[in-house]
Symmetry: D3
Subunit: 309 residues, 6 copies
């Protein structure tokens, strides 16, 4: 940090801190009508989760995301140690996230900690099988992109790789009962890659997203094996039914089902609980709100050439 001269005339630099601070407190009191039993709930920490994800990523693929100097004799010490620190951190974040799950009002402090520990332990037990599925995803990327020169390039240079790793970790937590945490993880991936996969979505093995910026996969989407997506593909909801009070009904199936071996090119928008049949190909920029049978090939009509002037 390079600091040369600072003006000294501090008497100018009053910000009316008292007034602003008071008004902000009043603003908070107006909006926080419901207090959580007199104290503030700790939220999960995005910074902590980023550290956890870095750790888990290097546990799963230590030769690519771990320290560069790992050797055969040192790699297991690295994996075990990083796993331990990551899980310790995760357990605390799970505990905080449990405070935001619906019926936790009756949970004692000890009960919450115990559940967080159990979820974390179950999550750890799933890591080897998560790794297995991720290996199928990496191979799908390598085989699916003619520009990919090595698995190393797939791991280092493909945003889809980060997106699918973080999705599979988030999905495991989502299923184990930590949905808020899973959502924070999916948003970390989204921010870094431009790929927005809701952790509730179900995605089969050998999944590949190329380029990926702008991809959106909704909460209730179901995706089979060997599916390939390109950038800016949306698997979204078409409409949001409301209940008799006008509130949106939450949680019902409203996103597409993609069967095995489907390919969807850049910019296609697939909306609603429709089914894209096995082996179908959906062209770029296609707008699709109806199911299509297996082996369909859908493409946008060629834009007509027109001289505007």
């Amino acid at each position: 940090m390079d600091i040369a001269f600072r003006q000294q005339e501090k008497n100018q630099q009053d910000w009316n801190l008292g007034t602003v601070t008071d008004q902000l407190r009043i603003s908070r009191e107006v909006t926080h009508k419901i207090r959580h039993q007199g104290h503030i709930r700790e939220l999960p920490s995005r910074a902590a989760l980023e550290q956890i994800l870095d750790g888990l990523r290097s546990v799963l693929f230590p030769t690519h995301y771990g320290r560069p100097s790992l050797t055969d004799e040192s790699i297991d010490y690295f994996v075990g140690n990083t796993l331990n620190t990551s899980l310790n951190l995760l357990a605390e974040q799970v505990r905080r996230a449990l405070l935001f799950v619906g019926e936790q009002g009756d949970s004692s402090e000890a009960g919450l900690s115990e559940r967080a520990t159990q979820i974390t332990r179950d999550f750890a037990a799933q890591l080897p099988s998560v790794r297995g599925v991720l290996v199928s995803d990496l191979q799908a990327a390598f085989q699916g992109d003619p520009a990919a020169s090595s698995i190393a390039e797939v791991l280092l240079c493909y945003p889809g790789t980060i997106a699918i790793i973080y999705y599979r970790l988030a999905h495991a937590l989502y299923q184990l009962g930590a949905p808020l945490l899973a959502r924070v993880i999916s948003e970390i991936a989204h921010s870094s890659t431009g790929i927005d996969i809701h952790p509730g979505a179900q995605i089969g093995p050998s999944f590949f997203i190329d380029h990926g910026t702008g991809v959106v996969i909704g909460e209730t989407a179901i995706i089979g094996q060997r599916v390939r997506l390109y950038q800016a593909v949306t698997l979204g909801a078409k409409r949001f039914p409301a209940d008799e009070n006008g509130s949106l009904i939450k949680g019902n199936p409203r996103h597409p089902i993609l069967e095995d071996d489907v390919v969807i090119y850049a910019g296609a928008t697939i909306l609603g609980r429709i089914t894209i049949g096995r082996g179908s190909t959906i062209g770029g920029n296609v707008w699709l709100t109806q199911s299509v049978p297996p082996e369909s090939n859908i493409s946008q009509a060629q834009t007509q050439n027109r001289n505007i002037l």
Copy 2:
């Protein structure tokens, strides 16, 4: 950092630094024809602004973006202290940014500092009302997305939340006379969320952007209340008229007006100074360059199914 062995044969590692440095200086001298009175103007620091935004964000929503252990007795100390450090930093950035506003050539050093202080103080005074509008935005997100489970999730996991918070802060600075600073802030938000809102745009309360990657909102766009946008929506200019010298005319109204209660789905492109009437819905991927009356429902024609092979 894990450093094992380094090669010692430094004699190989000459980079012709002298030559390259000289050529780069010559390149600079060629391009910098106009010098600013013999010395280099300090630019606003993006890193400083990121720190300022972190601070202001936690001042506005301390229970979600502040320290996790805040209590009723400590929260005002945190808010006041963070406000103070953030505003001190901001005042310096405003001062630097003023160097880049048009007619500042005649401004004395003291005059610039005084204006920077005044702008910062005015900005601080607006924070409580900015917070009020942001609360309406958060509620719009919670009510507008069936996947949202809590306000906490909206604050932690929605890129649109960061985009709108940073937009509203940037817009305040834009209006107070610090447009370059406002643009840096909007680019910080863009880089983090994929949502690109020009700080000159005018956006009403209860605004919600879902997913958001690829959204672009232009400098002269005007958006009413309770508007909702999805990813990859463009509110852009259609054409850029040039003056008699062939230079683009800057600053004239050229982006759309969205009236209250408009919804625009993913990938729609709305261009030019047109008006989308109150309560209209624009479907995904729609390409629109003409005004539409209130309560319109515009959608793209369904792509025809065609078996390509």
Copy 3:
């Protein structure tokens, strides 16, 4: 960091580390069938490359990306020193990347280092001319966007600026024989800007991308002078021919050619080895898979207004 109380009941916090670590090792052994001569190859470090890019960026444009307090007497010391540290770091990353280039199996340790040093020295020698082309890009941005108020704004606030700087540096490394490194750099730019330019693409001077989120430019694309792109434009491949074994054929020309003075608006998708003739304008959201002659104006048919309900 604010740490209050931690639970002490550590006996709950066993994660079955031994079991999970063992299973992960088995999973690695299954997937890593091919070992690289008994030890692990070091991969290029993304963090190191980010530091290198920060350094090179400030070497090219020290008054905008360097320290704020640079003066006429200090600027060359800053440039020379930053150049030296950046190139030292780069040489090591180049060496690592060379391990992943095809025929390196016969390369000795000393040979690799020598090649890395030579590539780095050649790269350094190109920096002044790279700067020259970048200046043309900056001027194109300033002249091409009516919202741009100064070159400073273009350097600080336009994601396209980072994208083109990093592309031109990556392209130089790609041509000098460090393609993996070039790809990591392009992915760093992609992650930060949403703009995905393969370092193999060839792009002429005075190139400008506005907004940019979602732009994809493929490996074999060729772009002339004074070309302008908007967000979400894809210059992609249409199909991926496979060889007799079913493997994708890698490296053949498969992306578009854009001649001089072409403009492509937001969301257009241009696929395959087609040529967009000089001076053509392609409208937003256009889907184009055939060549067009010079001075063409292609636009999407206006979506018909239809009241859905």
Copy 4:
């Protein structure tokens, strides 16, 4: 960090990690005969305490140890906020330290936390009066050293200032029942200043140590008001009686008593439970193991000049 080339021949770099790790575990098992109920007690963190002390120091003297830009309107926000973060951190360290106090075997987790919270709250309540005594110490330094030009110099440049501030904070914790924590604090001061004051010592107001390196003040020493010490003064124990088992008897009074207005010059060694009467002056390098009456002046005999050769 500047990293150029690293040798690749990793196959040489096996360290027999397995063997060494196993032998270290066996060594631990031999020495840790007594296990603490099957799990490892967390120790207080020296790094956390250093952060706490930085915080408390700036709470006590915000204009000297706080942020440089504090103003009348911001200072209380700074003090309150820093106090809160420091006390939160301290409460956790107190809790850990309580695990090492004798009869804690029967303490429940909740009981420990409650005691830690109570000790921390009591400690906080003493801070204003601690500050009052420290002000008398600062004035004694300013008045006692002809080289002191301002109170600012006393706060910034005198190691004795840090030593007395940390001693008074440590002594308060020692009396409140956190002796291990108090000892870590005294060792932090010792490491930084060369002045080793046991937190159990009792020291009156207006105390001044000049230069200070090598000063040692033992656990049961008692020091009156307006006492002044120079570097390398020892207030130590003369002998350590053992009980019938040969173990040293711990805790009995064994260090000197210095009455008010005593001055002890550099290098003097005062040993045993003796009393230095009010107003006495002890000269440099004096070796003293017997009480002296008030107003005594003790000095070492002048070394005789002797030409050795």
Copy 5:
């Protein structure tokens, strides 16, 4: 940072922040009777000075304290750049320190900055000659200690080296009119090495302190060429005369004069304005308050052996 579980029962963790903060403010108001024209003076920053000293040290001896990878072509860029950043930082610290020099009450803001700039520029101009004297000190160390194996060892492993480098820099600032800054630097050296040299002392070339812990050299001491000191040597004042008001008279000569080629062994205490004649040797632990002629050899009488029991 490894954080597992935290207790949630925050309602216990109120610290009475309001009360303590109020009492601390009252305590400040009592002690700060004299206010400095309504605002708080910024103090020099010890952290900034540590950074400055690191920089200046590497400017003076770049091959030992600079980056390890410096080459003939890069070393001047490193030196020039580090010099620039260090001097920029120093100028600000000098400006702050000037606020504490006696008659600065009438100084305008601009006048202070100008003086700070001038002092810094003069200081920079002295660096080459300071380096010349330091080289004589390093050679004296290498020649004076039979355990020294190389100049590199003297630079890396001798606390006396840091002490003399920092002293010579501090002394230059002291003479240029920044005594408070000089004192902070001397205390940084003291804290790191245990050697306490007042920046007002005058020390000739080829000066060597071995081991050094506990050495004290007073403000008005004068030391000739080729002098050697060992650990725990005090060159102090004998008594402090007071004026008619009882205040200590500040600034008068009160510390010893050591002529050329004097050697003083460990633990010797030399007090008062006495002269140790050229070529004299003072033995360990000697207590000396009278001048001695040239070539004297003074030693402590051998302690008699006495069986205590």
Copy 6:
């Protein structure tokens, strides 16, 4: 960092960088008469060694210096992983240090690396036995100080503990042929504790230094078992014989031998190659240059009381 306003008037802030940099280069060229084969040797890094020592310390005593949350299942992963990173770092530092050992002129790059690797591996193999001796030292501290309440206190709060741990590690490296590295380590300990033990000294088990500030133990000192020292004890050389050229003779035995069970109290100075017989006690401030038989009790004569005024 809190930065408010900076003065802009940079035209004042020229430091004559060119002149000063040139003069410093000339000064370097004058003093560096002997060049090391045209390039600069890399020196060992004190910062790297501090990191290595932190690592090794936590490898030896993981429950006290390691992460606070270690469990039975995680501790070996932590130890193995930390050992690996520390040894990798150490090997590089050993390699650098070998450049400074006398006859390395003929060593090839590969030869140096191989020797560094071998020294590091041998060092690692000694760690378990080093730990065994250190445990005897810790027990000696606990038993030798009536103020010590637990082994935890000895590990956390006694500077003598750090001094002996670092000495034993440095001594191992000294004996394996890395004396410069050993000296840097001993100076790190000296700077932190005020205790200066030359790594060449030989020290038996169950060694305890209390308080410790100012202790100096010379290169050829030999210390038996169960020896106890207090602060400011010097075990030094009496005189330094020169050869016929006037250069000091390096390396000959010149420091004291302390037999088993010797105790030396604060401030005693023991000089020359003398022997303190088994079981002897040397009192505080004693000056001793002659051998004493076993079981001697030596003390300083009591200072006579004399009223100075």
